[in-house]
């Protein structure tokens, strides 16, 4: 299919982009285009103007330091997947990026676009929630930070305000005794996440100091299963403790989505299984992280 007609703008800098956004009320930012263009081709999205931010300098790139990682909104999935810095500081992000779509999609799609689009079947939102990331939005009045757990408001709806551009994502770096893992049940046709589970575990002296488990694909936004931290903290991360902690996963998944491929009930079940596996793997990585 072909999209309806629209006007196209290619602002030179962020300021111009924001001005254009404010001027054209139903305009859409265009980053990698790998969610927007498919939607426009199916005519489920018909903006009258498209503002291409891909060539604005400084919007992409990965800056890693001991304290944390900053990823520009226009950074492609491929760049995240292959970043040597990330492999050292926050490998789970690269792991997650590697699960997105396919080589071609990863070459175009961006982290900012994925987050701003807030597809419930996307991969990044889940892992960023588990990592307690911050999302940086820039608007006419400047920058503001939005914690991941406030960012995903609903299906395709985020905490971004009209006229704001997602410019950066900041993620804490993995420290000694910390580990994370992302597991995905891939839709056999679309390749999106039927269920995606991200687990983060911090160990100290052989017991769990903190555990964050996030689940995507099941509900309209990714969910942080808070009971997991409560149940694991202070415990040695045994198979039994992890399994027990995961028993609470279904309760955290209210109104699960279902489709032809997987019902809500099955997604909930998968989430439970993958949670156990992801936590187990995160623990084993945490043990190795020096």
């Amino acid at each position: 299919m072909y999209s309806t007609s629209f006007d196209y703008y290619r602002p030179k800098n962020l300021k111009e982009a924001i001005t254009l956004l404010r001027k054209h009320k139903d305009a859409k930012l265009l980053a990698g285009g790998h969610s927007l263009i498919p939607a426009m081709k199916l005519r489920v999205s018909s903006p009258s103007a498209v503002i291409d931010i891909a060539r604005i300098r400084g919007l992409d790139g990965i800056k890693a330091s001991k304290s944390g990682v900053r990823i520009g909104g226009m950074t492609t999935h491929a760049a995240v997947e292959s970043s040597k810095d990330l492999h050292k500081t926050c490998p789970v992000l690269s792991e997650t990026a590697g699960h997105i779509g396919d080589i071609q999609v990863r070459n175009r799609g961006t982290i900012g676009g994925s987050l701003a689009h807030a597809d419930p079947a996307a991969d990044y939102p889940t892992v960023l929630l588990a990592l307690d990331a911050d999302i940086v939005a820039t608007g006419a009045k400047g920058k503001r930070k939005i914690p991941a757990d406030e960012f995903f408001v609903d299906l395709f709806t985020t905490g971004l305000k009209a006229g704001e551009v997602l410019t950066e994502v900041s993620v804490p770096a993995m420290k000694a005794g910390q580990g994370a893992c992302y597991l995905k049940h891939r839709h056999p046709a679309s390749s999106y996440a039927v269920v995606g589970v991200a687990a983060f575990v911090a160990l100290k002296n052989g017991v769990v100091k903190e555990a964050r488990l996030a689940i995507g694909g099941v509900t309209s936004t990714p969910v942080l299963v808070e009971s997991v931290d409560a149940s694991l903290a202070g415990q040695p991360p045994s198979t039994k403790a992890i399994s027990e902690a995961c028993e609470d996963v279904p309760a955290a998944l209210e109104y699960p989505l279902g489709d032809v491929y997987a019902s809500g009930e099955y997604r909930t079940h998968l989430a439970t299984v993958l949670s156990r596996r992801a936590l187990t793997e995160a623990v084993s990585r945490a043990k190795k992280q020096k």
């Binding site: 299919m1 072909y2 999209s3 309806t4 007609s5 629209f6 006007d7 196209y8 290619r10 265009l30 285009g33 790998h34 263009i37 498919p38 426009m40 081709k41 199916l42 498209v50 291409d52 891909a54 491929a78 292959s82 779509g101 396919d102 080589i103 071609q104 999609v105 070459n107 175009r108 046709a189 679309s190 390749s191």
Partner: protein, 166 residues
Amino acid sequence: MKLPVSIAVNGSATSSEVEPRLLLVHYLRDVLGLTGTNVGCDTSQCGSCTVLIDGEAVKSCTVLAVQADGSDITTIEGLAQDGELHPIQQAFWDNHGLQCGFCTPGMILTATEILKKNPRADEHEVRHGLEGNICRCTGYENIVKSIVAAQSAKPAKKRASKKGAA
């Protein structure tokens, strides 16, 4: 609205005035007449339309021509150099990596990317590298074989494949 675009395709400069909604694949096919790039779906799933933009494999049905303005594109028509087939093209021929040929341009261009990213890709990695490409004819076996064979033409050491090392 119509906008000017200048795009280098297979080493030649091209330019035209296009509607912003014109997809890159239609720019290649309809404006330039380069029909080697095929369209197999409307949801960005099949990979038939894969081309290289600035050296990277991309689904040209999911890119606007205006987004490609100023870039350098390689299509299947531009892969052979001086009348000599690209090693991957040759490998597809030698290993019967195609039947109807419709997915083939996309497969070959994706293969260039797989081998660029991982010059020693084994069978398992090649299969995963083809996640975005659908072939209905071959069952992929000879496509995978072709890609593995293309890289072994280079001095990279072959590793055992995880699956089906029979």
